[in-house]
């Protein structure tokens, strides 16, 4: 009985491991963040699909390029970080404000109850990345190239993702009463943060986006492209009314970066 039980669980674990390996193998063939591609490169994925073809055309009218991100569950955070840092490269004023906010954010998270000891590495790496795109140190082309290299170095790239997850979780904690309204099911905010926000590879929902945008004071526009009617993509700004600095496209399950014309 005992052995049978162990065998069963072992088999479950093996199957899960195999599943993970397969997913990992597929996703590893896609760079963490791709080069800039023309928006109409999306057509190749939807040949003969009238709904998507017309939506891609609509998208092309407003956006010239996109960057793909690896579909590993971290795509929202990675796309957001890349796109916003890219904006900061040519915007010294926003950069200085963001850097200050970044510096102060660690103490704030510690006050909210995060363990300072394990937080440190992520904050340090995050700030190192921010410092490496300082507009006063070099010209925008060199910094953009640097940014692209850093975000395709998994060590740096993943640590930036973790830190944004922690900032998101911190915001949910800070305004728990407000965010509790958005949580479905029987999750408490606490459970939601530990299960759906802080761990790597967990996908993002509206609530993650709203919390991160508010934590950093950054406006994001998401263009939604799915099978829905209308033939056009649908834009949604987070938080509503704020001028967007980051542009993303969402197709069910995945975020990529967009570049407005």
């Amino acid at each position: 009985m005992e052995n049978e039980q162990n065998d069963n669980v072992n088999r479950d674990e093996l199957i899960m491991q195999q599943q993970r390996d397969i997913e990992r193998e597929i996703s590893d063939t896609i760079p963490l963040v791709s080069e800039k591609l023309p928006v109409n490169c999306l057509n190749a994925e939807y040949i003969g699909d009238a709904v998507f073809t017309s939506k891609i055309e609509d998208l092309s009218a407003k956006y010239s390029h996109l960057r793909r991100t690896r579909p590993d569950g971290n795509c929202f955070f990675r796309a957001f970080a890349y796109a916003y840092l890219e904006h900061l490269i040519s915007n010294k004023e926003d950069y200085d404000k963001f850097r200050q906010l970044g510096e102060n954010s660690k103490d704030k998270l510690v006050q909210l109850g995060f363990p300072s000891f394990t937080l440190e590495d992520f904050h340090e790496t995050f700030m190192e990345v921010v410092k490496r795109v300082d507009p006063s140190t070099s010209n925008p082309d060199i910094l953009s190239e640097q940014l692209h290299k850093i975000f395709n170095d998994q060590g740096y790239s993943d640590y930036v993702v973790v830190y944004l997850r922690l900032l998101t979780s911190g915001k949910l904690q800070e305004e728990a009463d407000f965010y509790q309204n958005f949580i479905e099911g029987n999750f408490t905010i606490e459970e939601f943060r530990h299960q759906e926000v802080e761990p790597m590879y967990k996908e993002s929902d509206h609530i993650h986006i709203i919390a991160l945008c508010s934590a950093l004071g950054v406006g994001v526009r998401v263009e939604y492209m799915d099978r829905g009617e209308g033939g056009t993509v649908k834009a949604h700004d987070f938080p509503e009314g704020q001028t967007p600095k980051v542009f993303l496209i969402y197709r069910p399950g995945h975020y990529d970066i967009l570049y407005p014309k």
């Binding site: 009985m1 162990n6 899960m16 995060f114 000891f117 590495d121 790496t125 999750f187 530990h194 967990k202």
Partner: protein, 167 residues
Amino acid sequence: MAGSALRRLMAEYKQLTLDPPDGIVAGPVSEDNFFEWEALIAGPEGTCFEGGVFPARLVFPPDYPLSPPKMKFTCEMFHPNIFADGRVCISILHAPGDDPMGYESSAERWSPVQSVEKILLSVVSMLAEPNDESGANVDAAIMWREKREEFNQIAKRLVRKTLGLPS
């Protein structure tokens, strides 16, 4: 990536050495390999495991702390949440979604801000308060629930065994 894992493991080792929690000793098996640790865990006071010193191995993945380590007792164990081969089955060793035992949603999960210390403290709590809903060792779970005296006898024997005393 392994660079940041190594740096983190060295920092955790230092912290555990300077400020060890009660009843826990842990560190790398050898200075050449920080990705494999040995831990000694004292059976919690006032429980049937009191007095025992239980050795275990922790193996860390290259992307630690993004993913959790695996943990296995290397001595004989009889406990609802420990497999017959010594593998420890508690929620903090799993990321959400990666869930062979179907833990409750409120159970503590792995995330990059957890630590070796948090894991070992959870293991001490697990020794003190088995979760008999989780079926890592069904026989142990049933005995814990229905024949506590018998369970305590086995635990006592295991305690003596870890101390090298005749059972």
